[in-house]
Amino acid sequence: MSRIFRITVSHSILIWGVLLMIVPLWLVFASSTHSNSFIYNEGMQWKIGGEFFDNYDRVLNRKGGFTKEITASGIFYNSFIMAFGIASLSVFVSMMAAYSLVYFKTRFSTLFFWLIFVTLLVPLELRILPSYQIVSDLNLLNSYAGLILPLSASAIATFFFRQYYRSIPEELLEAAKLDGANSWKFFIDFLVPLSKTMIAAMFIFMFVYGYNQYLWPLIMTTSEKYWTVVMGLKMIYGGNSVDRYTYVILSLIPPVIIIVFLQRLFIQGLFQSK
C-alpha cells in the first residue's frame, strides 16, 4: 500500500515538473498560430489556431533590419555556422591540448596547465571591452572568424578530455609503445577512436554554448549580414506580438532538437570521465 502511495506521489511530482517546463512554451507556441489582431484583443492562447503556415513563412522569409538585407532564415544560418565553428574548433583544439597535458612530461607542463585553467576564472563577460578592441584591431569585426575564435578555446572541454585521458589505463600506452607506435600514431589510432563518445558530448555541449551566445554577437556584429539569433531577438522587439512568439519558437528549435535526440550520447560523455 505505502509503496503504491509513494510511486503515485513520485509520478504526480514529476508531472508537475514536466508541466512547469512545458506550459510556458506551449502558450507561446499556441499563441504563435493565431492572427495578431486576435492575440492583441484576447491575450495568449492555449489552443492552436489556423495561422501556423502563414506566420512561420512570413517570419522566416521577410526581410528585416534597417537595410532590409537579412531574413530570419539568414539569421539562423549565421547562428548555425557560429555554433558549428565553435563546437568543431574547440573540440579539436581541446583534444590536442589535453593530449599534450596528460601524455607528455617536460619542464613546461605545469605552466601550460595553469595557463589554460586560470582562464576558467575569466569568462568572456569579464573581458568583453578589450576583446572587442583586439578583434577590431585584427579586422575581424563582422566576420565568422571574429564570432568563432574568441569563444573556441574552452578550458572546460580541455578539462573533460584531460580527465578522460587520465582514466585510460596505462597499459594501453605500454602496449602501443611495444608495438612501435610513436606519439602521433598513438593519438590518431588509439586515443581518437577511444574518445568518440567524449567527442560527441563535448561537441553537443559547445554547440549549445555557441548557439546560445548573447553578449559577444550583440556587440561585434554591426553589419546585418552577420546577425545571429540574438540580434534577431532585439530586432523583433519592434514587430507585433505574433511575430515575436513565432520567432522565439523558431530560435529554440535547433539546440533543443540536438539535446533531445543526442541526449544519451551527451549524458554518457559527460559522466564517463568521473
Binding site: V28, I39, I116, L126, S131, I134, P255
Partner: protein, 292 residues
C-alpha cells in the same frame, strides 16, 4: 599523472600550440588591457593616458549604485542556486524512484537546458508584460504586483526567469549522481531504516555531496555571468537600476557609458570575487565532503 609518457618537446608543443595561441590572443591580451584600463585614466578627448593608481577602484566602490548591484547580485546568486538546486534535486529523486516512464520524464525535463538565457528572458517578458502578461495579471490581482515600480516585484520577475532555466541542468547532474550511488548501500540502508524520508537525509544526501558541490559552482557561475542575457531582455535593470547584476552594470558602464577605467576596475573586482568564491569552496566545503 601517468608514469609512462612521451618525452618529445616538439610534439608536446605542437599539440598544445593551437589552444595556447587562441588563449594568448583572445584571453591574456584582453586581461592585460583590462588591468591597464583599470589603473589608468584616459582624458576625454583620447589624447593621453595617465597612471591613476587606485582611483578607478575608489570611484567604483564609493558609488552607491555599485553597492546596490553588489547586494542584488549576492541575493540573486543565493536565490537561484537554492531554488533551482532544490527543485532539480526533488525531481531527480522522483525520477530515480519510478520504474515506468523514466526516460520520457527525463527527456521532458532535460530539454530546457538547450534554451538560450536571452530566449528565456524574452519568453518571461511575455508573461510579465503589463497588458497581455498572464503572470503579471495573476500576481497583480493578488497584491497589486508591478515590477516597473516595485523593487521586490522586479526581483520576483527575474528570479522566476533565471531559476526556471537552471532547473534542467541541476536535474541532469543530480540524476546522474543518484544513479552512481551503489545499489548495495541503498539496500543495506533499507534494512536499517524504515522511513524513506530519514534514509534520504542520512544516507543518500551525504553521498550526493560531490555532485552538490559541483552544482553549486555551476549555479554560481551561471547566475553571475550567464544571466546577463536574461536581465537585458526582462527588466533591463528596472526599477532604477535595482535589478542590475555586477556583470550587467560593467557592460552598461563600459559599452553604453564608454567609461573604460570604471569598467576595467569593475572587471578586476569581479575576478577577485570569483577567485575568492572558488578558493573558499575548495578550502572549506570540499574538505568536508567524503568521496567514495
Amino acid at each position: 599523472m601517468k608514469r609512462v609518457q612521451f618525452s618529445s618537446y616538439f610534439t608536446q608543443y605542437f599539440f598544445i600550440a593551437p589552444q595556447l595561441a587562441i588563449i594568448l590572443i583572445f584571453l591574456y591580451l584582453p586581461i592585460v588591457q583590462t588591468f591597464r584600463d583599470a589603473f589608468t585614466i584616459q582624458d576625454a578627448f583620447g589624447f593621453g593616458r595617465y597612471f591613476s593608481g587606485l582611483d578607478n577602484f575608489t570611484f567604483v566602490l564609493s558609488d552607491p549604485n555599485y553597492i546596490t548591484a553588489l547586494k542584488f547580485t549576492l541575493i540573486f546568486i543565493f536565490v537561484i542556486t537554492l531554488f533551482s538546486c532544490s527543485i532539480g534535486l526533488l525531481l531527480a529523486v522522483q525520477a530515480n524512484n519510478v520504474i515506468h516512464g523514466k526516460s520520457a520524464y527525463k527527456t521532458l525535463l532535460i530539454w530546457p537546458y538547450a534554451i538560450a538565457p536571452a530566449v528565456v528572458g524574452v519568453t518571461a517578458n511575455y508573461f510579465f508584460s503589463e497588458r497581455l502578461g498572464i503572470l503579471y495579471n495573476f500576481f497583480n490581482g493578488l497584491w497589486g504586483f508591478d515590477w516597473y515600480d516595485n523593487v521586490y516585484d522586479a526581483y520576483i520577475y527575474v528570479f522566476i526567469a533565471a531559476s526556471w532555466k537552471q532547473i534542467s541542468a541541476n536535474f541532469i547532474f543530480f540524476l546522474a549522481g543518484l544513479q552512481n550511488i551503489q545499489k548495495s548501500i541503498i539496500e543495506a540502508s533499507i534494512i536499517d531504516c524504515k522511513s524513506s524520508f530519514r534514509r534520504f537525509w542520512t544516507i543518500t544526501f551525504p553521498l550526493l555531496m560531490p555532485t552538490t558541490f559541483f552544482l553549486i559552482i555551476i549555479n554560481i557561475t551561471y547566475s553571475f555571468f550567464d544571466t546577463l542575457g536574461i536581465i537585458d531582455t526582462t527588466t533591463i535593470g528596472a526599477p532604477s537600476g535595482e535589478t542590475k547584476t555586477l556583470v550587467y552594470k560593467a557592460y552598461i558602464d563600459g559599452f553604453k557609458g564608454l567609461d573604460l577605467g570604471s569598467a576595467g576596475a569593475q572587471s578586476i573586482i569581479m575576478m577577485l570575487i570569483v577567485l575568492v568564491i572558488t578558493v573558499f569552496q575548495f578550502r572549506f566545503i570540499e574538505g568536508k565532503i567524503h568521496y567514495n
